[in-house]
């Protein structure tokens, strides 16, 4: 089956991102396809490479980046939600006159249309959080 995933909460405060990660891993292990993972609301904070969790805790952001590299996953951060919350890639930082970017490897910033397309293209859209 072809899945799309929507993650609506940021890392650590809510379990949504952890659960989504475990779901994606399990789905891939069963041979399912993940069309796209879309990060919305505070979910965009899953895409900042500047998180430094304690060493004895899971690194949620790094975990997503590694899973994306391993399975060529499409991790998309909503641009409107990202702008509100200070999540930038190089070109967004430049466009908005900011002196830094913070997007983690494997994530890309794009529009809400990518979420609608994910709903259209997948057999199931599974929502985590909110």
């Amino acid at each position: 089956m072809k899945f799309s995933i929507l993650v609506n909460e940021g890392p650590y405060t809510h379990e949504a991102s952890d659960t989504a990660y475990q779901f994606v891993k399990a789905a891939l292990a069963k041979g399912h396809e993940i069309f796209r993972i879309f990060f919305y609301h505070d979910g965009v904070n899953n895409g900042t490479r500047l998180t430094v969790p304690p060493q004895d805790d899971r690194n949620i952001v790094k975990r997503w980046s590694e899973l994306a590299a391993q399975h060529k996953l499409d991790l998309v951060v909503c641009i409107a939600a990202a702008q509100r919350r200070g999540l930038m890639d190089k070109s967004e930082a430049k466009r908005n006159g900011k002196d830094a970017d913070n997007i983690a490897p494997g994530f890309r910033i794009s529009g809400l249309g990518q979420l609608i397309e994910a709903g259209i293209q997948a057999d199931r859209l599974v929502v985590f959080g909110a």
């Binding site: 609506n8 919305y40 259209i120 859209l125 909110a130």
Partner: protein, 127 residues
């Protein structure tokens, strides 16, 4: 449930609004998805459950909150061909509201009927 049209696949999208309009950003950002999604010419419906019914309440005044009152945007949904708005009857009653207290015409449905509406969808986005 989904069907092919000249423009591609048309699916039934339901946006489920469960949260009060202010206090958290979910309601506002949900509406942003609806507006962007309208460009994709899908079969769109909105559902309002629980505190979500407050999003449609008339007479919202957010001045002292210093946040934007976005309730007038619901009145513009018709221009985007989004006309199916379902409101949970039990949620309205529990909050002392009726359809007359809402900013746009809606279809008031029972929780049972709401479940049937959900059952008939292809994609449910819940906020």
């Amino acid at each position: 449930m989904s069907e092919e049209s000249a423009g591609g696949t048309v699916k039934k999208f339901l946006y489920v609004n469960r949260k009060a309009p202010y206090g958290t950003i979910y309601a506002l950002e949900s509406l942003e998805v609806v507006l962007i999604g309208a460009a994709f010419e899908q079969d769109v419906s909105l559902a309002f459950l629980g505190d979500g019914v407050y999003q449609l309440a008339k007479g919202q005044d957010t001045k002292s909150l210093q946040v934007k009152n976005f309730s007038p945007t619901f009145g513009a949904l018709e221009d985007y061909d989004v006309t199916k708005l379902y409101v949970e009857e039990e949620a309205l009653q529990a909050r002392g509201l009726s359809a007359a207290d809402l900013v746009v015409p809606v279809e008031v449905v029972s929780t049972q009927r709401m479940a049937e509406i959900m059952e008939g969808q292809d994609v449910i986005l819940s906020f």
